[in-house]
Amino acid sequence: MPKSDLFFNPPVMNAAGSLGFAPDQRSGRDWSRLGAFITNPISFGRRSPALGTRFVPYPGGFLLHTGYPNPGFNAALRRYAPAWQRSPLPVIVHLLAQNLEEAASMLRRLEGREGVMGVELGLPPGVESEAARLLVEVAQGEIALIVRLPLEQALELAPAVIAAGAAALSLGAPRGALPDAAGKVVEGRLYGPAVFPQALQVVRQLARLELPVIASGGVYSERDASLLLEAGAVAVQLDASLWLG
């Protein structure tokens, strides 16, 4: 598939971190309702869970601070690549790269891998435009590249990332801070319906620039998804709403 021709049928997928590292075919889930499966974030080296409070609820949503635990790229390939090969839907591997070398190394090893249609590269919050551009350039290869932008920086980074060769953009969860039960302030990612208005606004702004965006953020109904598609998104990602079953 040409890397600039990302097509999802249906135009709905799970967001990274919402359904594990590979489709669980024993789950009874109807996989035909998703156009692709995005893996949990995978880093070059192993990552342990964050210490301290990791979940803080608030009206309309919740904050997560998990640290993106994962076994590391090599171990993830050993464990999950066979499942990606058997997957009933195309798999997009979500990668967390700390530097150019890590990004290039992981991408090269995913090229040509059966079942893997593309990579979603997660950019860290606070990344500067030039660093984002360089990461995207070094990630260019034979595999379709989606770049996940921090929501707060989406408009700032989007043009450079697309010009550098990304096939599409996706939107990361917005970040925030809340006190936990002990009063200690926890910083993390925000999920839930309360996030949707922000996501819709960013999609509308990106669509005006005619940039291909895969929308996500607080999508809890078919109406939410339709609004994002009507606003110009090429596809929609579902996150915590999937956990309602």
Partner: protein, 229 residues
């Protein structure tokens, strides 16, 4: 993704403000002691996450679910239950002396195990600093500070501890770091499990002897020997 229909049959609130709900459901949907089910209200478009339910009492018609429960729940509400999920308590056959230990602020998640063990003829000694609702007269109830004295009495130790209190269990048990417990022990690690086993999101990660385990899938009941406490 299997789920079953259920209904809230009755809601009660005791003097301490603790709320319980009797859930009418098929027997296959009743979580065994330590396991959990995830509940969503049928037709509710405002839900952010499912509600985690542990059984504090079991009957042939369903189970009693204990706090925390949504304030919006009322009798007659239709629910969809997914589960039971996770690993529960595994009481060895022939257990005759069961010590229950409440390390958090709720006794409810151990109550169904007490019910099960008592039905099997076991003696129950409950160590808790949280007020208990009326329990059978045969249960011996003691403050937590008396627990170290009971370790040699028990055949099996079942604890309920919020995740942040796992690190302080040795103090509660009164044993030193190199000491082994004189009997098998399992702990229900109480922690938010937002993805309910679907995502390996890591929010419920519990420190283990080797790496970490996920309460939603590997627990929430663990052999104490498997954890880093």
């Amino acid at each position: 993704m299997r789920s079953v229909e259920a209904r809230i049959f009755e809601i009660t609130q005791d003097a301490s403000g603790s709320v319980t709900a009797w859930i009418a459901c098929p027997p296959s949907a009743v979580p065994a002691p330590g396991r959990y089910s995830l509940a969503t209200v049928v037709g509710n478009s405002d839900a952010v996450l499912p509600v985690t339910l542990f059984a504090s009492q079991v009957s042939e018609h369903g189970f009693l679910a204990a706090s925390p429960l949504p304030a919006s729940w009322i009798p007659g509400l239709s629910l969809r239950l997914r589960g039971p999920l996770g690993k529960g308590f595994n009481l060895p056959e022939g257990t005759r002396r069961l010590a229950l230990v409440t390390c958090g602020d709720s006794n409810s998640r151990l109550a169904a195990l007490a019910q099960q063990a008592a039905a099997g003829g076991a003696d129950i000694a409950w160590f808790t600093d949280v007020p208990l609702p009326p329990v059978p007269a045969a249960y011996e109830v003691n403050p937590l500070r008396l627990l170290p004295e009971a370790l040699d009495w028990a055949d099996f130790l079942a604890l309920d501890a919020p995740l942040p209190r796992l690190a302080g269990l040795r103090g509660v048990l009164g044993i030193r770091s190199e000491q082994r417990l004189p009997c098998p022990a399992q702990v229900l690690v109480y922690t938010p499990m937002p993805c309910g086993g679907m995502a390996e999101c890591g929010a419920c990660a519990v420190p283990a002897r080797r790496g970490w385990k996920l309460a939603c899938q590997d627990g929430p009941v663990f052999d104490l020997d498997d954890l880093d406490w």
